[in-house]
């Protein structure tokens, strides 16, 4: 991937957000839209400057122009699976509850990462799930989702 491409993607995303926000300000009174519109203008301006700066840098260091943005030792698959596991955990914690979703996430992730042997994985899972429950619920009286067990 071209070195500029991720910056173009980022600029595209923040500019789209800025445009959506701008459209939203059309319905607001002046006192409410004044500050956001200044910021929206700055976001659009700075994203253009960011691209210009990257282009200038690419001209200065042309050898890296078409280089891969990720260093060879970084594994996109590992990152992708880990992020997917986090997302699955986030989306299932309310329906399943803390006591089901957390151990499943921990065991699944620790196994996927080949972090240690299975008995240790089980011990870490049970110990940490219990520790967090003790700390948040019993000690600090803060809520955790109970889901199916609620």
């Amino acid at each position: 991937m071209n070195r500029l491409a991720p910056y173009l993607l980022f600029a595209g995303a923040v500019d789209s957000l800025a445009v959506v926000f701008y459209v939203n300000t059309l319905k607001m009174p002046k006192a409410a839209y004044q500050m956001p519109r200044i910021l929206i203008t700055l976001v659009l301006l700075l994203s253009v400057l960011m691209i210009a700066e990257q282009l200038l840098q690419m001209r200065k260091t042309p050898s890296a122009e078409n280089g891969n943005t990720l260093p060879a030792e970084i594994s996109p698959i590992r990152i992708g699976v880990f992020v997917s596991l986090i997302l699955a955990y986030v989306l299932t914690i309310v329906p399943l509850g803390y006591f089901i979703a957390t151990p499943v996430f921990l065991i699944g992730t620790l196994l996927f990462l080949r972090s240690t042997k299975l008995p240790w994985i089980l011990a870490i899972t049970v110990g940490f799930t219990g520790f967090v429950y003790l700390l948040f619920v019993l000690f600090l009286h803060m809520p955790v989702p109970m889901g199916l067990l609620g």
Binding site: A31, R78, I86, L106, L110, F128, P143
Partner: protein
Amino acid sequence: MIFDAVLTGLTGVMSPLNLLLIAGGTAIGIFVGAMPGLSATMAIALLLPLTFPLPPATGLSMLASLYMGAMYGGSIAAILLRTPGTPAAAATVLDGYPMARNGQAGKALGVSLVASFIGGLISSIGLLTVAPLLGKIALEFGPVELFAVAVLGLTIIASLSRGSTILGLLSGVLGTLFAMVGMDNITGVPRFTFGNINLFSGISFVVALIGLFSIPQAIRLIERKEDAKRELVVNRITDKMLPTWKEFKALAVTIVRSSFIGLVVGLIPGTGGDTACWFGYNEAKRFSKHKEKFGTGIPEGVAAAEAANNAVVGGALIPTISLGIPGSSSTAVLMGGLMVHGIMPGPSLMSEYADVTYTLIWAVVLSNFAMLFLGLLLTRMSISVTRVKDKIMAPLIIVLCVIGSFSINNNIFDVILMFGFGILGYAMDKLKIPTAPMVVGLILGDMFNVTLHQSLLISHGSWAVFAKNPISATLLAIAFLSLLQSTPLFSWVRKYGFAKNGRSSNE
């Protein structure tokens, strides 16, 4: 009045619960600092939800102590593993690791602990004396001056953050734009909520912090195909930790010099322990009679770096407390701790919330003593912590992120938002866009909005009010210069100017 507030803070900090949590926070900080890959900022962000049920002063005291403890903890991994536990301990590696290899691991850690203690103590005293005075001046500020202070804070942190100023500014402006989400304080109009009731009260600052600082860190821990190899230079510390009086006397000047360097570096928003440790180390080398020995394993090198990075804590808290402008990402997160208790950043911290603020300042002072005591007790134990694998830590961090962000409002929307900010933070990290300015923007967003509105009301809509007011004009000029100095134009002018001067002097 200030003296009364100082005494109130001292009385407040002496409660058994506060003392217990200062010790607890310091111990957690030492362990977190000792683990390579985990930062103090991340630990403070993760522990922030735990402070909700506690009184504000107690919760903040714990977080400030964690910050102090982590600064020392970073040196443990630096000395024993040749990998700094935190970026602030990078310069400690140069002499700490060779000392450990020469069989002086205990002595290196002891010098680091004593230097950290003195550095932290000097900066705490600086905080206790400078912050109230600066806060008193800041109390005279009206909306026009406060708007200029906020602009200055954001531009300085953007221009001094690592990487380009444009990227820093973009990050800061985006953070400020995110702070506009929710019900407008002035008009009561909902902004950028898109009908989602969860966004009416705005983007939860803590949720954004947890996402921005913890999720990217967890992903970074597992992103490599091969795990980082960590080989401890010693399995056990066998030599004496504390330096003798003679050894201490030889280091005293270096420690005091580095402490003042750290204090000043901490004062400047955008610079932190990572800058201070190198600055302190280089100055110690420059003043030393035996420069050639630096890097071969001498206590002076360890003391210089460690006194400077711990002295940053008090320095960074001075603008945070007196002006409401965080000096570093860690103090920005600490400020988030104030905000979750309904305490808004700004000059009112020193007057309206004097009890909380002065208790926090005293907690920073006391955390140094806790660090010295617990450092002697826990350093040998923390060797085992440095062995914890990254791929075990990463999922545990995620669980704390999810449960912490859920427990704030008992709401899954916050968890999804935290995840979104986490992915954004990781993407920004890969693009070398600093996240600290975004956090500062999120904090200062409300101040920007309110003070701009009030200033324009005072001036009947005239923007010239910012130029006519001498304080705001000066602050805005400094902000403009701080941006200008990082542009190609400035380096061109400097190059051209120097070339011209050089020619004339040669002539």
